[in-house]
């Protein structure tokens, strides 16, 4: 029932356990995929703290040669994008999508 008729969150209202919205980002990097994610996580922690990074739920989804696909919660995406721009070694946010399949299709096309 809850899934079929969601209500607004607020005081005195039923709070539904909805899935947080996520975004998938294709990031271009120059080194190892794990190192790229590590340096990005480290930078985000330095700039915004552990709480924000934990809320962002960063996760490495896929890795091609020089592109990694990382998942991040939509609510923290702006922090994440700032982190991407300010990470050393450099990372480039090539594309972003709510759907990993669509992102991969766009990348291959």
């Amino acid at each position: 029932v809850a899934e079929r008729c969601p209500v607004a969150e607020g005081v005195g209202e039923i709070v539904l356990r909805r899935k947080p919205k996520k975004r998938y980002l294709a990031l271009m990097h120059g080194g190892r995929d794990v190192d790229a994610l590590d340096s990005l996580t480290k930078r985000c922690i330095e700039l915004f703290g552990h709480v924000v990074v934990e809320k962002a739920g960063l996760r490495l989804m896929r890795s091609d040669d020089d592109i990694i696909i990382v998942r991040c919660r939509l609510s923290q995406i702006h922090h994440f994008l700032v982190g991407v721009a300010l990470t050393d070694p450099p990372l480039v946010a090539v594309d972003m999508s709510a759907n990993i399949g669509r992102l991969r299709k766009r990348r291959h096309s």
Partner: protein, 175 residues
């Protein structure tokens, strides 16, 4: 966005990253959607759009834009020497090398610089400072940094576009 390095690669990368125009040093070949950086006014009118850039605060009178590495130090000089419509450029590549504390201070300086530009009639410019496509910054990341310093990104890009058209329209170019 102002870059140096392999231009052709950077132009195709810029299109992927949602960037319409890039700035670069002139390498003898005119390319569409590129605005060239020059250190001094050319002796004869060139056939390409250009901006005169400087990173020395003492020579702001000839320059269209000046690259600022430390706004806190430069602020007092700029107050005395600032001319109307001068672009103040801040480079992200330099911030990448900073510690977390340094980046936080740099973001604070950007906020101050934006207010300074608003009050003095200057133009705030955020550049990647990239030397290769892998150092470029996407439009989304630029927007996120602008939002982080409390700037409405849509308004910023509109202002920058207007500033660029104004400055370039004053230059004499050969058709």
């Amino acid at each position: 966005l102002l870059i140096s390095g392999s231009l052709q690669e950077c132009i195709s990368a810029a299109r992927t990253l949602g960037i319409d125009k890039i700035g670069a040093h002139y390498d003898g070949k005119k390319i569409e959607d590129v605005i060239y950086r020059m250190c001094a006014p050319p002796s004869a009118p060139p056939a390409f759009p250009y901006l005169i850039t400087s990173d020395v605060l003492d020579s702001v009178q000839d320059a269209d834009l000046v690259t600022i590495s430390n706004f806190r130090k430069a602020k007092n000089t700029l107050k005395k020497k600032q001319k109307d419509r001068l672009g103040l450029e801040f480079v992200i590549a330099a911030a990448r090398k900073m510690s977390g504390e340094g980046v936080a201070r740099w973001l604070g300086d950007l906020r101050d610089a934006y207010s300074f530009c608003e009050s003095s009639g200057g133009q705030f410019i955020l550049s990647s400072g990239a030397r290769s496509p892998s150092e470029m910054i996407s439009g989304r990341s630029f927007d996120a940094i602008l939002n982080e310093i409390g700037v409405d990104h849509d308004r910023h890009w509109q202002d920058l576009d207007k500033w660029l058209s104004d400055v370039l329209s004053r230059k004499v170019l050969v058709k």
